[in-house]
């Protein structure tokens, strides 16, 4: 599973970070620091919850092909 973030559209709600500081690190201004990453095994549900928590809807989950 991959997470893809439209970083330029982040407005600093930091709700993803509230779900997982590890998956969704912030810069010093409180905006998302990462753009695209592979979700470590076992953290898929956290990644999904982090994506759903974004009021700006800029976090996309790319599921692995079955």
């Amino acid at each position: 599973m991959k997470v893809r973030i439209d970083k330029s559209a982040c407005v600093g709600n930091a709700r993803c970070w509230a779900v997982s500081e590890e998956l969704f690190p912030l810069d010093d201004d409180g905006y998302i620091q990462v753009e695209e990453f592979d979700v470590p095994p076992g953290m898929e549900e956290l990644a999904r919850r982090g994506a759903r928590a974004c009021p700006e809807r800029v976090i996309e989950i790319v599921e692995d092909d079955a």
Partner: protein
């Protein structure tokens, strides 16, 4: 005065406003809104068009649906935060006599990108989640002290005794402003927010008063930096140049207006709900871990700010014809009660997951103080539930509310067994 007498005069309807998008609603004095705000907002969600024009308060658009609010908030080219376009305003200011008192500007809230970003970036680190989490314990201490003062009494007027002093003290502490001027500040903010049809010259005078009250502190911190926001803002750069006294006054006006009234009203709406919902109180007392989720769901269920925008060009927005220069209100309280986004929107479900609210707005103007507000609300609910036994509304003195850009609680009398 009767309720009806306070409703503003209706202006005539422009030709492009069709019957389908016409709806008569006074954002400031609608009787239903003033009687029980969110009950009336649910009624609007169910019965008003998702985008409508009201003839009250000079005539303006109201964006009700979540989709309308979300798109308008993010489309800053169509919906401008510059109620007077920036160039036009600069031209007006340039014609003022050189010795006229300066008019402070609430930058960056009344600027559009890209200029908006240049003034916002210096504030972001100051209000980041990490910076705010670092002062959480001091907020908790202050909350505990304030609440403990009323506990033995068995009753309190929550707004004046808790909701007002807590966030205002936290914020003024952060800024490094003297607390003894608190009543003066509050009076200015209240006048600013309650004016029905803002009178530009009065509004400017008020901002000048706000700046004048702060000026001594601003200059003092420039010369003797301390561990506070004002001192920090003297150290930052705006677009590569050092900040000036004018910049600091502009920031001061913004932070002053935004920090004194909003979170206080959020507490009022949330505590009113808790006071009417004994089961929720019991659940949260038994499971304090749920309070942070409850804080979010209360924000969604009782969203209370209504940011204004200027329609920046003639356009069709979601099938509705709008004209350049018209005003549009992002009615976020209704957006967060839209059944398309939130099934059973009126149900307060602290286990609701998967739908984020926009109580702090969307787009580049997302509430800068949202992380501070969240911590304050969360801490307030935690400390109140831990220190005050089961509380309820005082049946003899029901709560009173007001409409406007910050829909608020005027009076909230609580009682409990002491």
């Amino acid at each position: 005065m009767t309720e009806a007498a306070t409703i503003s005069e209706a202006v005539s309807r422009p030709a492009h406003v069709t019957d389908a998008v016409f709806y008569d609603f006074d954002l400031f004095h609608d009787p239903g809104l003033v009687a029980d705000p969110h009950q009336r907002i649910i009624d609007l969600v169910e019965n008003a068009p998702p985008v409508f024009w009201t003839p009250r308060n000079g005539g303006h658009w109201m964006l009700i649906g979540h989709k309308a609010n979300f798109e308008a908030a993010r489309d800053f080219e169509a919906f401008s935060n510059e109620m007077v376009p920036h160039e036009q305003l600069q031209a007006i200011l340039a014609q003022m006599p050189p010795d006229a008192p300066r008019i402070p500007m609430a930058y960056p809230i009344n600027l559009d990108p890209p200029l908006h970003g240049k003034y916002r970036v210096p504030l972001q680190g100051v209000f980041s989640p990490r910076t705010i989490n670092a002062i959480k314990d001091s907020i908790r201490e202050l909350a505990g002290e304030i609440i403990d003062q009323v506990v033995p009494r068995g009753q309190c007027e929550f707004m004046a005794e808790i909701a007002e002093p807590l966030p205002v003290k936290v914020f003024l502490n952060m800024l490094g402003m003297p607390l003894d001027k608190l009543p003066e500040y509050r009076a200015l903010v209240k006048a600013h927010l309650s004016e029905i049809q803002p009178d530009p010259s009065k509004a400017m005078q008020r901002l000048q008063q706000v700046a004048a009250i702060m000026r001594d502190t601003l200059i003092e911190r420039r010369d003797n930096p301390q561990d506070d926001i004002i001192s920090m803002l003297w150290q930052v750069e705006i677009d590569g140049r050092p900040t000036t006294l004018e910049d600091l006054e502009n920031y001061g006006v913004l932070l002053f207006i935004a920090g004194l009234d909003t979170v206080m009203q959020g507490m009022g709406h949330g505590v009113r709900r808790l006071a009417e919902d004994a089961a929720l109180q019991e659940e949260l007392r038994a499971n304090p871990d749920l309070i942070s989720d409850a804080t979010e769901e209360i924000l969604r269920r009782y969203t209370f700010t209504v940011p204004p925008r200027r329609v920046a060009r003639d356009m069709e927005f979601q099938g509705v014809e709008m004209k350049e220069g018209e005003r549009a209100m992002l009615f976020l309280p209704a957006a967060d009660l839209d059944p398309v986004e939130y099934p059973e929107p009126d149900r307060l479900d602290i286990r609701r997951e998967g739908k984020a609210h926009i109580a702090f707005n969307a787009g580049p103007h997302r509430c800068l103080g949202s992380h501070l507000a969240r911590v304050e609300l969360n801490v307030l609910y935690e400390e109140l539930l831990a220190r005050v036994p089961s509380f309820r509304l005082d049946a003899a003195r029901p709560p009173r509310f007001h409409g406007g850009h910050v829909i608020g609680v005027e009076e909230l009398n609580l009682v409990w067994e002491s």
